[in-house]
Symmetry: D2
């Protein structure tokens, strides 16, 4: 009965089966027949030619993406509460060799054109000031909100006008797409995204994320950065297989829909306790310490987010029956 | 019938089974119950308290080890043919923020005290010259030779006399220990090694290597570097489980013995074609291009190492029956 | 009639004369007899043993100081408006290999124990979060305010309690000391400062700043970092000579007093137009665009700081007669 | 009577006079009227449009040049005895964020097309191997030999064929040009050089070197790197003035000719003791320890280069009369 993190959930069976299926002799690194299918499979999914690199973590996907978009002497505009700023121990700075993150405001950890422009306009031209080179947004955001294609496109317009790259941290991209009901391409490249960190691990995967380049020429140098970072695992087929298994029959979407549905169940029970609208698989609730304690006594595990506020995360493997007890307990507070 | 690389071999069944076994709810990152067992399990194996970090690749293990031993303005002495110098796309330079590798000579990619001292003595004291801070040796070496405990201790003496750290790249550490028949501690910390990259992937693992700190205080900052590099996978139990499975009943040793035995079979057939003595699971042969072509026509796959020289690598999963045809073909050349 | 920047002022004659005086044969780099005097001269000035490195710029002094105090995976707490954050194009990130600056609030660009603690307390323990390793304060601040010894000591208490280093950016340290009337040691090491960037260029020097280590053991690695950054000029005597000339007969203090006096003259004229109290050699005024334009028509040059706000900087070489016309013009607005 | 280093020589009077001449109010950093003249003055000298940045040291010029030509995951081919490899404490690695130097052979520290190709051909294609991105040559070399325009062009042909940049470390460029008697453009851009570190300090300057971009578009990002490294001194007119003074009436050439002439005097006396032909202002002699000692007893100071070998360096300020005693002493050995 845990709602602590979608990283705590087990791996879905199709992924484990895929590992067994590729457990045969093949070429090392990413030369194997499964790794070689990734560009094609993701190009199909996104309905445009993409370059796809497997990596073993979302942090490394994000950091490689930013290194592809921003030189060491540049900056990346992101939300003050972005994962890349707060939860990656400086990975962006490591991979970019010291670029800065320029922090913007926005409700629910969502940037807007105005909040981005406010940051951009504070920077004077000239060598004394770190110049912005990219914008990074998270979809779904750290508070479970989802950027629509239109919202992304509006930010992209700012990016294009200022010659900035646009990165999307999609650790919960599946949940965002499941919520939107749009094509994956609609909220990414069609809306101006250049690079996407497409997360699978929180969504039932084990150890493989996809780094997707819509600006395909950015992938070349990234291949060197991936190797140089020790991220080019020697038996890459076991990563590629996970991604392919998740794409098969849109398993990634089914898993995300399940997690989102669980969150909706909680949201309905929570009513006016909600801190943010619930759009993906995260639910932020206003509860008193006593109420939090009483929920924990019932066996529910979750994260204290801020004073008087807790975070509940639902996962791909939680059925309505698994969620219902918590929903009831919240309603009964 | 491939002898191209031990990375091409499949994962051994016990490792896959372990993945299934840990496929339950648990804490994220390395807080889970299996990750928490690593320090204990490896301390038992090495008969001394160690700190153990799982990482997803040998390159990242090596690079983190060097970053723990050498500042950005220092150098690491290694063999001219070392993997860290030649095959990691500059990972040591990335993780150390630009330390240099100082290249030493030695037969069979083995350093000796004299070859190390020759490099050290070329460096003048003072800020104009990059000062050595560590030595890195590979055991078994890139040419399949094995350092004995005595040989390691002799190098360690040089290291200690000059206040240098000592790292062992053990991508094929299992093969070395299987050859030596000694305790793992004998050829590492008892011989003065400070940090060991203990490889499992080439030996039947999937995606987990162990970074072992005998100088345990070096682990603290390394935990930050691992996270910052995007190497702290969010579902760490699937890495820890691999390592624990390999330790169970000394599977790692059994696998290495099998691979070494295969190499011995080839070595006997090769006789005076051998470029190096065969001590681990690599066999380097003098063959003419015509001979190489004829072996390939028979279906054997291997690496052209140098003009007139090929490399054969045997794996944990190759039985005598699997090796015999190549041995016979070599003998028949 | 310029009040744009103290960097625009010429070099004071004693410094130029010192260059001529050392224009003889001597050893290269910092082995010459003048460079060798720096530790002694600054130890005398600070009444404690210090290590002193000349560097050619304030930015490099600051960046080397931070690199000595903070690892790549750490952070430095500084004011949101600090020079190291805003005006050095990411030099701290370059020299520290990607450490973060954690931004704190405070009136007049001054940190307080509370504003520092507010930043520190937002950081959770553990490897996911960049941990603070140092605090950097600017004295005089970017708005010309001066930290008293007591204020520095209060921040140092926080630093010591959390095991953080304490750096002082003293680009206008002379102006601060001139204002305080205290011994240089009172507002630095006696108040807990570990490293000081002691600026001379804005105060009549040409191209030499002093990096002062009160924690003397931090200097050793810094010598390597200075060389590695190309900052160890080959004819170092021409830098050392500048610093020694500025110390001679307390020229540095006399120059700073002159600049401060000019600022006071302006402050008196400005009355309630002052944005900040005037303590060093910077004056921030509220003026309308029309008023600013009328001052410029009179030949006065200055920096538009913010809407409705301008910055005037006085220099070591400006006599009362040189300042008076601007003071009168301001009073007459 | 010193022949230890051309860095030990004093600054030539015209440079000091220039400092006095610019000692007036002007804009900070490189906005002043003298810094603004550099592009024009050096474009005239080189007979092609160039971008010119002053920097305070040769090491920083070299390191910025390499950072402009090589990404962090690349390598720069240079001679095994190059200054960038041996004497800069890893500055190239710092500024390039960890690129490697790939070491080539060659008599007298001179690369040849063949020695470069030998290094290039050892690198396999693919992400496992650090790929070469640039070649760096030193003219005059560390052993005082001079590349002719034809020799540079031959190396440039290799560079262009492999899409590599070409850097020239011209710490003693003036001595090289003085020896060649060619136009400065002949041995640089006309021969395919992309970036030149044009040294002035060893040749009578004080603290300013010129970084010359023939590939002018490379200068843009370098301006940011220069600032970020703390190399953009705030009173830049005192650096620009040095360079302009050295160009005035070809002072740089006159100084270099004087130093070269001194070396020739020594070379004639040395006869068959010469280790290398003497082309610039360095003389390497075979002498026994006893002979070296006897020269030192006569008051001559020089560098022990290797067992049985010493280095003598002549400077811009040494007349024939100043050199003659050493020449005689060598002849008399």
């Amino acid at each position: 009965m845990r709602f602590f993190s979608d990283n705590a959930a087990p791996v879905c069976p199709q992924v484990l089966e895929a590992l067994a299926r590729v457990n045969v002799l093949d070429t090392a690194y990413d030369g194997d027949r499964w790794s070689q299918q990734l560009d094609g499979a993701f190009s199909d999914l996104f309905e445009t030619p993409v370059r796809t690199l497997w990596v073993p973590s979302g942090t490394s996907a994000n950091a490689l993406a930013l290194a592809a978009l921003c030189p060491p002497h540049g900056s990346v505009v992101c939300h003050r509460d972005a994962h890349i700023q707060n939860d990656e121990c400086g990975a962006p700075e490591f991979y970019t060799h010291g670029a800065k993150l320029a922090l913007a405001e926005g409700v629910g950890a969502k940037l807007t054109p105005d909040s981005v422009i406010a940051v951009l306009d504070r920077v004077q031209q000239g060598v004394h000031w770190v110049q912005p080179h990219a914008i990074s947004i998270t979809n779904a955001t750290e508070y479970g909100l989802v950027y629509t294609p239109g919202e992304v496109a509006a930010i992209s317009e700012v990016a294009k006008a200022r010659a900035l790259g646009l990165h999307m941290d999609g650790a919960r991209f599946a949940n965002a797409v499941a919520h939107l009901g749009c094509a994956p391409g609609d909220v990414t490249w069609r809306a101006g995204v250049d690079v996407l960190s497409f997360g699978f691990v929180k969504n039932g995967g084990m150890s493989a994320e996809a780094l997707i380049f819509f600006q395909t020429e950015l992938a070349d140098a990234t291949l060197y950065r991936r190797k140089r970072a020790g991220l080019l695992l020697s038996k890459g087929r076991y990563l590629a297989a996970q991604l392919l298994a998740m794409l098969e029959d849109d398993l990634w979407l089914a898993n995300a829909r399940a997690a989102n549905a669980g969150a909706q169940l909680l949201a309905q029970a929570a009513a006016d306790r909600l801190v943010h609208p619930v759009e993906a698989n995260e639910v932020f609730l206003k509860v008193t310490p006593d109420e939090a304690a009483s929920l924990r006594r019932l066996g529910f595990d979750f994260h204290d987010w801020a004073p008087g506020e807790v975070r509940l995360v639902t996962s791909w493997d939680q059925s309505e029956a698994a969620i219902r007890p918590l929903a009831d307990a919240i309603a009964a507070l």
